[in-house]
Amino acid sequence: MAEKFHTELKKLKADTLKMAQLGRFMLRTGVDALIRQDKELAASVDARKVEIHDMEVRIEEQCYQLVALNQPMAKDMRIIACTLKVITASLRIGRYGKSIANTVADLSTKPHIANLMSIPHMADLAIDMVDDAIAAYESDNLRLIEDLSSRDDTIDALRHSIFREGITYMMEDPKNISRCTHYIMVARYLERCADHACKIAENVQYMETGERVEIH
């Protein structure tokens, strides 16, 4: 009985990992499509939205079934609790990737203003945070998420700097307003993705140790 349950728990983690990786992939690809102004690549991100949504529903159902049929306790319970949070965060990350991809149509007629400012750099940092949070969930290695809080501070600072810079370009020339508004929104999406990475990390910490921590 317990053996069957633990096999199912392993499968749950494996499925969740796949979903988290899809969310991460959608974010990375959305950013790449934006950087390269590649509408086709952007469309490929949008096409994955149903898939990631279905994965979330399926994994959520798996979680409820495991709880109902096995009444898990201690770490088993914490794995399931953490998984429910990880799938929500992963869905959001994927959706932000899709939202970023959806800006490409408006942003591919002219060259980017100031080479997209710090957006590519900010995206690299945010995606690294997502990677480490997912890897910690997979490997139970808490060292990967130790410094997430200070990395999140950098992300917040970059968002603020992109906002300021965007305003400057808008003031210089009102024709920039539409594009810079998109850039500011993209920076906001990336900041939210980093927050979701922190959320995942908080839940991994709980899964591993049973302690609640705040990472932001």
């Binding site: 306790m73 201690a74 088993d76 140790t209």
Partner: protein, 253 residues
């Protein structure tokens, strides 16, 4: 456990012949709370339970060292009267074991042994005990019928009523639901929740979900040792000891 304890043991050891069944067990059982003892078969949880009202005295070749205190008094002190101790510390067993007498006589038996003779007084005790054990409404029309005609769950509640009739301080329950169906089990569990207002309950169960549902504190035992004891919420959400973790997640036992 910062709450007032009613029973405590210090370095309690027990041997059945050569077998060291309890090894340096120190536990404090908080008053007016439900404490569950869990652990795999043969870990010593029933043995520990039976120490609390000296039921192990009835077994040959048992040796006990260490201290057990009830209300700050050593229950092995020469001055301790075992009958009084067992009045204070009642016990409900795994299998319902009503006497082959009427429902009334089952409950009145204990008070009679302890000297209550007055009929009106006995009637009152019987009704009150049956009410406390949440069985009065089901049996009030037939309390002079044989107890053996009751269902298993009713018999078990009758046994609880019989225990309550002598006004104990502590009620020991050794797997009280393992012979019952889920509905009868739920009734006993509800009853346990109510009993802690007036009594201290210590329950031995191998059903971890039951321990989690009914208890405020849980002690995990393994191979004669008390591995971990703490608030039930903590034990089942994030136990401190790896052995506890492995046991309650079904990785052994």
């Amino acid at each position: 456990m910062s709450e007032n304890s009613i029973i405590s043991t210090t370095n309690l050891n027990l041997w059945y012949n050569e077998k060291h069944a309890l090894q340096s067990v120190s536990i404090r059982v908080p008053k007016n709370r439900v404490t569950a003892l869990i652990g795999p078969s043969g870990c010593g949880k029933s043995t520990l339970l039976r120490c609390f009202n000296r039921l192990n005295d009835l077994i040959d070749n048992v040796k006990i060292t260490g201290e057990i205190k009830l209300d700050d008094e050593n229950i092995h002190a020469p001055a301790t009267d075992v009958v009084t101790l067992r009045k204070k510390v009642g016990m409900v067993f795994q299998k319902p074991n009503p006497f082959p007498k009427t429902i009334y006589e089952n409950v009145a038996y204990g008070p009679r042994v302890h000297g209550v003779r007055d009929k009106a007084e006995l009637d009152k005790i019987v009704e009150q005990s049956l009410r406390h054990a949440a069985i009065w409404d089901e049996v009030k029309e037939r309390i002079h019928d044989s107890a053996l005609g009751l269902s298993g769950g009713q018999q078990q509640r009758l046994c609880i009523a019989r225990t309550l009739a002598v006004e104990p301080e502590v009620i020991l329950m050794d797997e009280p639901c393992s012979a019952l169906d889920p509905i009868a089990t739920a009734k006993i569990e509800n009853l346990i929740e109510r009993l802690k207002e007036d009594y201290t309950v210590i329950i031995v169960t191998h059903n971890m979900q039951q321990a989690a549902r009914v208890s405020d504190y849980t002690g995990f035992m393994y191979l004669g040792k008390l591995i971990e004891c703490g608030k039930t919420r903590q034990i089942f959400e994030h136990p401190k000891e790896e052995l506890t973790e492995n046991y309650i997640t079904g990785r052994f036992g």
